[in-house]
Symmetry: C2
Subunit: 330 residues, 2 copies
C-alpha cells in the first residue's frame, strides 16, 4: 500500500504532489488555492481572535472521531470560548515515514467534513515528514483566526451559576477504551464536536455570560478550579446535576479515574448570571450537541475552593489536577 | 537535572507552572498574559495574512541558531514573502518526556530574542508532552498573522530579473555539518534570520516587485523552478552571480549535494522589473542580512525551464527537486 516517504517532506515535486492530491483535494477553497506562503484574508473587523493547538492523540482513530476531527474541533472551540466566530484554520502535519497514504486521506477527509459542518475553511498549511521512529504516526497543529463577537469578561459574583453543555468525560473514556482495548458494554463515544453554533444561539444573553471555556485536558474538574481561583470565590457543585453517562461512570470506576478530570472535546463550561441561567439552559438544550446542558453549581463567598456535594449531603473538595491520569488525550 | 514530565502535559497544575515559568516568563507581553484560549488582537486593517509552519529540525541546536530561532524566523519570513508586516505569532510545543528544562528555557529565550529583534510578539501558545520515544526531542509549530502591505502579484515578463538577497545553502550545510559531526575548516553557520525589515526598505519599489519567496526547503533551485513554471517562461541563471561561500561549495562537493537545493532560512528570492533591478539591489545590500544581494538571472521566452550557465558558457538544466537530499532541515 502507498505510504508517505521522506521525500514527500523535502519541498520538491513529491511534496507538491502530496499537498495537491491530499490536502488541496480535500480542503479546497478559493483562499487555500491562491495561497503562496500565507493565506490572504479579508476580515471585516479589527477585533481578531487568534489561537493554536497541537494534537498528539493516541490512538489517532478512536470511537467518535480521529485526530483530524479533533484538531478542527479543538481550535474552533477555543475561538468560540473567547467569544469569537471561527472563520479560518491552518493545518500543519508532522507525518512519520511509512504512514499510510489512505490513513492520511481519511484524516484529511474527516477534517474537511468537520469544517463543512462548522462552516469554517482551512486556508493555509504545512507538511513535514520525519524518519520512522521520530514521531508517533502523525501529529497535527491547527491554528485559527476569528472575529471577536463579545468579550466574556464580567466579574464573577456570588450566586452566579455554572453550566456544562453536555455529558462529561466521554472523550477521555473513549480514548482509554480504544488505547487499552478494553472490553466494555454499552455505547461509549468521544463527544468531539464543533461548538461554534453556541455563540449565535446565546446572542441574547451575552451580557449575562461571564466566562466560557471548553473543557479539554484536565476536564471540568480542572476548569472549575481555575475559575474558582480567578474569581476568588468558592464554588459549590451538585454532583447529581453533573450530566454523566452510566458507561463513563462504570468504566472509570474500573480504571480508578475520576471522570471529572477527563477531557471532553465537545463541551463548554459557562459561568452565567443566576437570573438568566435557566433561560440559557433552555436555549442550549435545543442546540446541536447540547441536549444535556445543565446547571451544575453556584458561586459562594463562604470558602475559596471547589466543593462537590452528593445527594446524601456528603461534601468533598475537588482539587486542581495534580496527578497524571491519561497522557496524549488530545 | 530537571526535565519535562508527562504530567506537564496533563493540563493541570504542572502544565500551568511550566507555561508560567518558561513561556510566559520569556515571551511576556500584555496580549499573551491576558490570553484565555485565544489571543484577542486589535488589528487596524481588514487585509490579514495568516500562515503556519511546523519545525522538526535535527539537531535542535546548530551553528547559527536553534529550533526556536528557526521557528520564529520561518513564520516571519513567510508573512514577509506575501507582502505582509508580521505582527503576532503563536508557538505550540510538542515535547518528549525527559527533555531537559534548561534546553526548553534556552529555546524559549532564543525565540524571545528573535521576536525582539524582529519586533513581533508571541501572543498565544500550546504545550503537549508525549512519552519518551514518541517524538524526537521537541517539535515547534509557529503560526503568524500580519497586515498585508502589498500583493506582489504582477505578471512576470520576459526580461524580468531574479534577485537573491544573500549567500545560499548555508542553513542546510550548517545542519549537515552538525548532524553528521563533519570536521570542516572555515566558518560555516546557518543564515537563519528574520527578513521582515525588507518590506519597509523596498516600499518605493513595490510596483516593480512581481514575486517574493523565502528559499527554505528545496533551496533556490526548487523556487526558481516553481517561478519558471508559473510564469510559463524560461529562466536563465548566471552561475557566477549566485552568492555562495567557498565553505558551502567545498563541503557540499564532499557530500555530493547540490547546494542550490539546500534550504536557506534567511534569504529571499525576488522577481523584479529589470529597470529597477539594480536600484533594488543597491537598497537591499544596505539592509540587515542582505549584504550579498545579487541579480542572478533573467526571464526569457526562448525556453520554459531553468537553464544555468557557467563562466565558460557551459549550460545545464536546473530541474525541480526530485531526490531526497537532507530530511529534517527545518
Amino acid at each position: 500500500m502507498e505510504s508517505v516517504q521522506l521525500i514527500h517532506g523535502e519541498g520538491g515535486k513529491y511534496t507538491e504532489t502530496l499537498i495537491r492530491d491530499i490536502f488541496y483535494e480535500e480542503f479546497k477553497n478559493d483562499i487555500l488555492l491562491k495561497n503562496g506562503d500565507s493565506a490572504l484574508l479579508d476580515i471585516p473587523s479589527n477585533k481578531i481572535a487568534f489561537t493554536t493547538d497541537s494534537f498528539v492523540v493516541n490512538p489517532i482513530f478512536f470511537r467518535g472521531g480521529d485526530i483530524g476531527k479533533l484538531a478542527v474541533c479543538g481550535t474552533i472551540n477555543d475561538l468560540t470560548a473567547c467569544g469569537a466566530e471561527a472563520l479560518y484554520l491552518s493545518s500543519s502535519f508532522i507525518i512519520e515515514e511509512g504512514f499510510l497514504m489512505q490513513d492520511l486521506k481519511k484524516i484529511a477527509r474527516s477534517m474537511k467534513d468537520t469544517c463543512k459542518q462548522a462552516k469554517v475553511n482551512i486556508v493555509t498549511g504545512d507538511t513535514k515528514v520525519v524518519p520512522k521512529g521520530k514521531v508517533d504516526k502523525v501529529f497535527i497543529n491547527t491554528s485559527g483566526v476569528g472575529i471577536v463577537k463579545n468579550y466574556f469578561s464580567n466579574k464573577i459574583e456570588k450566586g452566579d451559576r455554572v453550566i456544562v453543555t453536555g455529558t462529561v468525560g466521554e472523550h477521555g473514556t473513549a480514548i482509554a477504551v480504544d488505547r487499552y482495548n478494553l472490553k466494555v458494554k454499552g455505547r461509549i463515544e468521544s463527544d468531539c464536536a464543533p461548538l461554534n453554533s453556541i455563540l449565535d444561539c446565546l446572542q441574547g444573553y451575552y451580557g449575562s455570560i461571564k466566562f466560557m471555556r471548553d473543557a479539554t485536558r484536565g476536564g471540568i474538574g480542572q476548569i472549575l478550579n481555575e475559575i474558582a481561583n480567578q474569581s476568588e470565590l468558592g464554588l459549590h457543585i451538585f454532583e447529581s446535576k453533573i450530566p454523566i453517562s452510566n458507561e463513563v461512570k462504570s468504566i472509570n470506576e474500573m480504571l480508578g479515574i475520576n471522570p471529572l478530570y477527563l477531557a471532553c472535546e465537545g463541551r463548554m463550561v459557562l459561568v452565567v448570571d443566576k437570573y438568566d441561567s435557566e433561560d440559557i439552559v433552555k436555549v442550549l438544550v435545543k442546540e446541536f450537541n447540547c441536549d444535556n446542558a445543565s446547571i451544575i453549581g453556584e458561586f459562594t463567598d463562604e470558602y475559596e475552593f471547589v466543593y462537590i456535594e452528593n445527594d446524601f449531603g456528603g461534601k468533598r473538595i475537588l482539587g486542581s489536577l495534580d496527578t497524571q491520569i491519561l497522557p496524549r488525550i488530545c
